[in-house]
C-alpha cells in the first residue's frame, strides 16, 4: 500500500483529465439524448450538430463544481502577495529610515517655508546689488552670483545676505547669532561649524532670538547654543537642503561686510 500510494497519487494526477473527458464524454450522450426529446419537440433532432445547444444545461453543474478551488487558490496567492506588500509598506513607514524632510519637519519650532511659501523657495535668480528679503535672516530667494565661502568658515563680522543666500542654495547651513550672545555659547556654536564644510557662521545684529539657523527654505530660532535642536537642524539639512547637488562651498567670498560682493578679483598670475 505504502509503495503503491505514490504511484496511486501520480496516476491520480494524470487520471483526472481522462476522467474529466470520460465524465464529460459520458455526460454528453445522456445530455444529448436528454436534450433531444425537449429539442425534438421543435424539430425531431435529426441534425447531428444540433447537440451543441443541449450540452450547456448540464456542463455548468460539473464545471462549476470542479473549478471552484482554482480561483480560490489564485485569489489566495494574490492575497498573500498583497498582504506581504502591505506588511512591508507598514514596516517601511513605521520602522524604516525617515527621509531628511521628515526629520526636519519633526524638529519642534522649525519654520518650513518650502511648505508655507513654495513661491519664495522657487525664486532663485542671480541679481546684483542689495536685495530685500521678507525673513530675517533670509532663508531663500534671489541672490548674488557669488556665494559666501561655506567651508566651515566662522566669520567674526556680519556677512552680506545676498551672498549667504547663495550658499544656502548650495546646501549650506548658516548659523547666525545676536552679537550679545555670551562668548562660551559663540565658541560652542563655532565648534559645530569649524572644519565642517557646508556650514558657516556669522553674527547678525537685531535678531529676535539669540540664535537663528538657516537652510534653503528652513529656519529655526533658539535661545541657547546647547539646545539639542541645533544639532538636529544641522544633521537634517546640511547638504540635504541643496538645490544643486554636487556644487561645493569653496571658491566663494571670504570677506565680511553687508555689501554684496560680486565675483572676486583673480590675481593675474600668468
Amino acid at each position: 500500500m505504502s509503495i503503491s500510494t505514490p504511484a496511486g497519487d501520480s496516476s491520480r494526477q494524470t487520471a483526472p483529465p481522462a476522467a474529466k473527458k470520460a465524465t464529460a464524454g459520458a455526460g454528453r450522450p445522456p445530455a444529448a439524448r436528454g436534450a433531444r426529446p425537449s429539442g425534438g419537440g421543435g424539430g425531431k433532432g435529426n441534425r447531428p450538430g444540433g447537440g451543441g445547444k443541449p450540452r450547456k444545461p448540464i456542463t455548468p453543474v460539473k464545471v462549476s463544481q470542479g473549478r471552484s478551488w482554482g480561483p480560490i487558490a489564485l485569489f489566495t496567492a494574490v492575497g498573500v502577495i498583497a498582504a506581504a506588500i502591505i506588511g512591508y509598506g507598514i514596516y517601511a513607514v513605521s520602522v524604516g529610515p525617515k527621509d531628511w524632510k521628515e526629520k526636519a519637519e519633526g524638529i519642534s519650532g522649525i519654520s518650513d517655508f518650502r511648505k508655507s511659501d513654495p513661491k519664495l523657495v522657487d525664486t532663485r535668480s542671480h541679481k546684483s546689488g542689495s536685495i530685500q528679503y521678507a525673513q530675517t535672516p533670509p532663508v531663500a530667494g534671489d541672490h548674488n552670483v557669488s556665494w559666501q565661502n561655506c567651508m566651515g568658515d566662522v566669520y567674526d563680522a556680519q556677512i552680506a545676505n545676498e551672498n549667504a543666500v547663495h550658499s544656502l542654495e548650495h546646501g549650506a547651513v548658516w548659523v547666525t547669532y545676536r552679537p550679545d550672545l555670551p562668548k562660551d555659547q559663540v565658541d560652542a556654536l563655532a565648534s559645530k561649524v569649524r572644519g565642517q564644510e557646508f556650514t558657516m557662521m556669522s553674527p547678525f545684529p537685531g535678531l529676535d532670538k539669540p540664535i537663528s539657523l538657516q537652510a534653503w527654505g528652513y529656519q529655526l530660532k533658539v535661545d541657547n547654543a546647547s539646545d539639542e535642536r541645533v544639532d538636529e537642524f544641522i544633521r537634517a539639512l546640511r547638504l540635504n537642503a541643496t538645490l544643486e547637488p554636487g556644487v561645493g562651498c569653496s571658491g566663494g567670498v571670504t570677506a565680511t561686510g553687508t555689501t554684496p560682493r560680486e565675483l572676486q578679483q583673480q590675481p593675474q598670475g600668468q
Partner: protein, 218 residues
C-alpha cells in the same frame, strides 16, 4: 495546481465529508499565507538592516569625514590653479582637485545607497580607533586651520607655492592616516577599493610634492 484542486473537489463530492476537507484546505492556505507574510517581512527587514553599513558604522563615519577632508584639499588645489605659475604645481593641483572631487561624489553616493544622511550625530573621527585623540584644535588630521587658509589666500608667487605644497603635504599625511584607519576595520568591498586607491594616489602625490619642493629650492 488547478487540477489537484479539481481532484480534491471531485474527491470531496464523492467522499461525503466536504466541510472538513474545505476547512483543512482553508486552514492550510491561511497558514501558508501567514508564513509568506512573515518571510517577506523578515526578508525586507533583513535586507534593510544587514546589507548596508549602519548609521554609526566605521564606513559611514569614514565616508562623511573623508568627504569633508577631501573638500579642503579641493579648495586648496583650486586656489593653486588660480594663483600659481609653477607648471608642475599646477599639474598636481589639477589632478588632485579632480580626483578628490570625484571621490567625494563616490562617498556621498555610498551614503545615499546605504539610506544614510551626509551628516552623522557623532563627532568627527569617532568612527576610528583613538580617532578623538587625533583631532587637533577641533580639526581632523592634516586639515589646514582657518588661519592657514587665510594666509594661503593672501600669499603670492614663491611664498604661495611653498605654503601650498607644505599644507598639501600635511593634508595628505593626515588623509593617509585616516585611510589606514578605515582599512584596518572594514571589509566592505567598495570602501576597501577606494581607500586603497586613495592611499596609493596620495603617496604618489607626496613624492611629487617632494620633487617640486626640491626643484623650487625649498
Amino acid at each position: 495546481m488547478s487540477t489537484t484542486y479539481d481532484d480534491a473537489a471531485v474527491a470531496v463530492s464523492s467522499v461525503s465529508a466536504p466541510p472538513r476537507r474545505r476547512a483543512l484546505l482553508v486552514t492550510s492556505a491561511v497558514v501558508a499565507a501567514v508564513l509568506v507574510v512573515i518571510a517577506a517581512f523578515g526578508a525586507g527587514w533583513f535586507a534593510q538592516s544587514r546589507n548596508h553599513p549602519g548609521e554609526d558604522s566605521v564606513e559611514a563615519g569614514f565616508a562623511r569625514d573623508m568627504s569633508s577632508h577631501h573638500a579642503q584639499a579641493v579648495e586648496m588645489s583650486m586656489l593653486a590653479l588660480d594663483k600659481s605659475t609653477q607648471p608642475d604645481l599646477r599639474l598636481l593641483a589639477g589632478e588632485s582637485a579632480q580626483a578628490q572631487q570625484a571621490q567625494i561624489g563616490m562617498m556621498q553616493t555610498w551614503l545615499r545607497d546605504w539610506h544614510l544622511g551626509p551628516t552623522g550625530h557623532r563627532p568627527q573621527m569617532s568612527w576610528m580607533t583613538d580617532g578623538a585623540s587625533l583631532m587637533q584644535n577641533g580639526l581632523m588630521p592634516g586639515m589646514a586651520s582657518a588661519a592657514d587658509m587665510t594666509k594661503l589666500r593672501n600669499a603670492t608667487g614663491h611664498d604661495f607655492d611653498l605654503l601650498f605644497l607644505r599644507l598639501m603635504q600635511q593634508h595628505h599625511l593626515g588623509g593617509i592616516h585616516m585611510v589606514e584607519g578605515v582599512l584596518a576595520e572594514t571589509h566592505e568591498t567598495d570602501v576597501v577599493w577606494l581607500a586603497q586607491s586613495m592611499a596609493n594616489n596620495q603617496r604618489a602625490e607626496l613624492e611629487f610634492i617632494q620633487q617640486i619642493l626640491t626643484k623650487i629650492g625649498a
